[in-house]
Symmetry: C2
Subunit: 389 residues, 2 copies
């Protein structure tokens, strides 16, 4: 391996290429930028502010930066007061569930969806209903039908958790017509859309599609933004951006009322980092680096995957979603792949009742050489598994 990951959340196996882990490559983490920013944040006249209780919505300096970048890049006119600092999208999703749902409410998720979001939702006393996606993202007609059914059973359709831009795991983005259709449905049914927008900054072709939140600023959309991919996951820092009524409800959360901003120290450090003006260049460099990783993996897959395998090149994010030939399932492939020392996340992890014909490959963690080697190993494993059928 050319780059040794130091990560502690996932155990990497010696000699393996681990496509299962959607984590930034360690060499891409901005250690120097954060070190300098921490030094400045703790040397300024307001240094004690980084260590004191913060306000519920978090430091105004940081919220001003977030609002300005959103206005500049998305044309959505935000003020600092419209933004609520979060502890990253996992914390934010948990908080949204705590603050906005009642027992028995229905929460819709995409099928497939980010598997660990399912665990966060499962900690809350709500019913989960999966809605299928296709190459244009969420099938909004199917959601509409599911909303109708939930109401017919006497349940309140309350939230949709969706990743409309550079989807995890499927790599797709929601088509423009469906974005409009979804917003219309959410307004009509008072269904809160939780828009997980964590990959927005990591776009490799043109511009990222407009956020649902930006397309209709008065629709019930809670957008979860994050510095986990654009800076570093360990900062546990993101933000929530929602229309006033929802934002105020979230800002009055009991944990915030008691502890203040959930990531006060990180928030002050990142405010200092953004003050220094280096964020834009850092993100631009990440785009180049991750695009090269995506292309390295895609090139290896094109070369080595047996006929009958399919994938689309994602325009952003961390993942390539490969669909196997009809006769092979991802769970049958996994042990074969592991003999070839390559890991991946089988599709069934991402959907309670999904098919098992797909696998998620993260290209974020490794450099080009390891990705090429992993693609070669995966191709060989699929070929062997197909022969053994």
């Amino acid at each position: 391996m050319t780059e040794t990951p130091v990560f502690t959340q996932n155990e990497l196996r010696e000699g393996f290429v681990e496509f299962a882990f959607g984590e930034p490559g360690p060499a891409l983490l901005p250690v120097g930028l954060v070190r300098d920013a921490a030094g400045r944040a703790l040397s300024s006249p307001g240094a004690a502010g980084a260590l004191a209780y913060g306000s519920n919505p978090g430091p105004e300096e940081l919220r001003t930066h977030i609002a300005a970048r959103t206005a500049e890049r998305e044309g959505l006119a935000l003020a600092a007061g419209d933004v609520l600092v979060s502890g990253g999208n996992s914390q934010a999703l948990g908080q949204v569930l705590t603050d906005l749902t009642r027992p028995g409410d229905v929460v819709f998720v995409e099928c497939p969806t980010y598997n660990l979001a399912l665990g966060i939702i499962a900690d809350h006393p709500v019913d989960v209903v999966g809605v299928r996606i296709d190459e244009q993202g969420l099938v909004v007609d199917a959601l509409e039908e599911a909303v109708r059914e939930a109401k017919a059973w006497g349940h309140r359709p309350r939230l949709l958790y969706t990743i409309p831009t550079f989807h995890n795991p499927a790599g797709v983005s929601l088509a423009p017509g469906r974005r409009a259709q979804l917003l219309e449905l959410a307004r009509r049914e008072d269904l809160v859309i939780v828009e997980d927008d964590v990959y927005r900054e990591l776009v490799y072709e043109g511009e990222a599609p407009p956020a649902l939140r930006a397309l209709d600023p008065e629709a019930p959309v809670v957008r979860l933004g994050s510095f986990a991919k654009s800076l570093a996951p360990g900062l546990r820092l993101g933000w929530i951006d929602a229309p006033p009524e929802l934002r105020d409800q979230l800002s009055a959360d009991g944990v915030l009322e008691s502890g203040g901003c959930v990531s006060q120290f990180s928030a002050q450090v990142v405010a200092a980092l953004l003050d220094a003006g280096a964020f834009g260049a850092h993100v631009a460099a990440l785009r180049v680096a991750y695009a090269a990783r995506r292309d390295a993996l895609a090139g290896a897959l094109r070369e080595h995957l047996p006929a009958g395998c399919r994938f689309a090149l994602p325009a952003g994010g961390f993942f390539i979603w490969v669909t196997l030939p009809e006769e092979l399932t991802a769970s049958a492939l996994l042990p074969v792949a592991e003999r070839h020392r390559v890991g991946f996340a089988p599709g069934e992890r991402f959907c309670a009742d999904g098919d098992d014909r797909s696998l998620r490959l993260a290209f974020s963690l490794y450099g080009a050489d390891d990705l090429a080697e992993g693609g070669r190993r995966l191709g060989a494993a699929i070929a062997e598994a197909l022969e053994d059928l």
Copy 2:
């Protein structure tokens, strides 16, 4: 004011002495220690680890320090594996409620209790029952009766949220005999005790009483420990220490499974701070400083409070709990006090159905001169309010 607080969570009024805010004084925040530790954490060979996803329970280095200090100071044999890093006691309490309760469960709280814990609990679909305390802490006989009643109504008595050591707001500590009685009740009823132990390090007379968690390591006690008072609230860093079954249930929380350690960056910085060995001296200095503040306020109260007012000197923590003469309520006093430019937290905030004869005074935020002046103003305000009756 001799020391200008920089805090953002609470708005300080110009020219006021604000006894309502239980926050560390800004001059007591270890800005230099944290700055040096952040520099080291982000310069070491493992620097990227501070910025990467952490493991669910948090960095082992930090957990090892916490376990060692607990073993040394409390005689409770803990290993790193017994400790789960939290984002401070507010986050931890929210997580405990999410992970361990079901809709309709009964959560017992002390009356009075930490008022903002009531807001955290109110975000969850549980029933809250208050149990009175006296000068020996929680009245365990009353809890036993409340447990019996909850069961008679068909509800599950699930959690007790308690602050047995240097209580907020009342300043008392649970008496030894009641600690034993409470542990026996919790074991018998399978009632989980959530022991908020945030003030343990801030002891001003002798040793802090033994934690419930340490007295009976196999009882269902979830202890919430924190660096919010011993280092800095803005770090949003604490820990959970519980018997294996409860600890494992909490460690499998969906937000942790997805985002890893909730305060990874702060946790690595504080691990570096503890490595440097300066924590003991810092806490020792805090004890001296806060004891002097307590004594300054107590002295002023003794001098200036009219006859009929009562308070006990707390042996630790941040608060003096003053009880007014029978004819005066704290809410009637508040506007008079504010005319005298002194603020406090009236007792009714701390208990849904509590009496309103008491007030909470925090001595943590100001130096001795301001505390003396605030005590003088409060005495004058009470005298005036009594005259006006």
